[in-house]
Symmetry: C2
Subunit: 282 residues, 2 copies
């Protein structure tokens, strides 16, 4: 019996990756998921200042994969920075072919996940990316992504995900910096999961003021807080933990605080599908 291979196209919407990342991910996939075929768009390795190629090149790479019927999945290679610069043009160039595939990534890639969610795309997920292979023990994260992409393995999902409640997940500053723009997603009745990396605690506080003050976010079912790692030293000490901060802002805004979420910029980052999980596996 031969099964059709799952074809994954990888592009980098913000910062670049190097060839070693691609080789290690391809090697891992060959060992643990032989039913997968991964293609790294050459754009992933370009360098244009801060970015993996200029805006037009990154946007075209996104469309090359999204609009190509031979790909089942568009996997974002890495976050970094730059996705917001291509979101609008990329969305405008999509065809109906793009609606038939899955999209996976997190961090800076959240701008495109949000924009696609607003367009009614149904197979979007916040989860590990190829660049996670560079973390110590990072193969676990990439294996999780592959297990999610090949068979929606239940153990890859953030534990609170259920068919009863739609979800969404974002990096805190990324969500903050799309509020009040056309790509702000409708989070009504969603469990909103948030995580952060390498920020000062006062900036986490400021961004959570911003997020929880937004009328659209206030229509969410509640917020779960993922990991906030590599917090920068604050002088004077901020005096509150990230959980005290989110509890404060949830209390002020009337949003339910639903506890911790198992997501973050680390190898334990679980998958959070956007929207509602199907009640039965397709």
């Amino acid at each position: 019996m031969t099964r059709k291979k799952l074809r994954i196209g990888v592009m980098a919407p913000g910062s670049r990756i190097n060839h070693a990342v691609a080789e290690r991910v391809e090697g891992l996939a060959a060992r643990c998921a032989p039913s997968i075929e991964i293609w790294f768009h050459p754009q992933c390795f370009l360098a244009s200042g801060h970015f993996a190629g200029d805006d037009a090149t990154r946007s075209q790479a996104f469309l090359d994969i999204a609009n190509d019927t031979s790909f089942d999945v568009l996997w974002f290679a890495r976050g970094g920075y730059g996705t917001c610069r291509i979101a609008e043009n990329s969305i405008a160039g999509l065809t109906d072919v793009a609606r038939t595939k899955s999209y996976l990534g997190y961090s800076d890639a959240g701008y495109l996940l949000a924009a696609l969610y607003n367009e009614g795309f149904t197979e979007l997920a916040h989860g590990p990316m190829p660049s996670d292979i560079l973390r110590e023990g990072g193969e676990a994260a990439v294996r999780r992504a592959l297990a999610y992409l090949t068979h929606r393995a239940p153990e890859t999902l953030e534990t609170s995900i259920s068919p009863d409640m739609p979800s969404a997940a974002f990096n805190i500053i990324v969500l903050s910096q799309m509020l009040g723009t056309p790509i702000q997603p409708d989070l009504t009745n969603h469990v909103l999961m948030l995580e952060e990396i390498a920020e000062y605690m006062y900036r986490i506080d400021r961004s959570l003021f911003h997020i929880t003050s937004n009328p659209g976010v206030r229509r969410a079912a509640g917020i779960k807080l993922g990991r906030c790692s590599s917090i920068q030293p604050n002088d004077p000490d901020f005096g509150q933990t990230e959980e005290e901060i989110i509890r404060h802002w949830c209390a002020v805004s009337g949003i339910d605080y639903l506890g911790r979420a198992d997501i973050g910029h680390d190898i334990d980052n679980k998958v959070v599908p956007f929207g509602r999980l199907p009640r039965h596996d397709p």
Copy 2:
């Protein structure tokens, strides 16, 4: 002939100042503006973690001055961080007395300037604060603030300010992190001046994506870019200057780019009144 003294009340909406700042500003005022009486609210010197006293204390200090008929001016002592935490409660506690006085500050104080502007307050201005005395040559900034507060001295104003066009000015990340909240100001037909300090260039780019993507900001008459100082080293180099970045986002968004503004986190920071300058001095 005796003139009524101008009474200025100073409070710190975010971070604290120390007594030396107050003493130096009082000394300068006594020498160069004897018609002024400055009172530093004791709250300015409190410490509660990151803040000049806890939220309730800072909010009360704001109301102590704003709602007191004996003060003509509320002068924000310093930015830092924390104003967003007290904006909503502070606005809710204002009486009509608060409408009769002037408010001056910048940076983090922008959250309260925005909230007051939304409430129809007419004497709000972005300009130097007491803490600027700590900069090298900082007396020039404080003298400018006093000259603006005492007699609206024309030379204190940003040079493009005119009665023909309403203006507003903000720190970039501060404006960004109020978009889509109830305190986002209506900038329709305004010249919007923006400045930044101590950010990475990629974050300035990201915040300008955010600001220029907002439909309300797109109704502005145009944007003038103030100084972006102490830019953090970007790895890899961002490859664009702040002026190239604002030109990019203005072109993408259809907002007119109106050139540089003479504002910033420095001693040359000119005063930008919010709204329209009166055609004749009152």
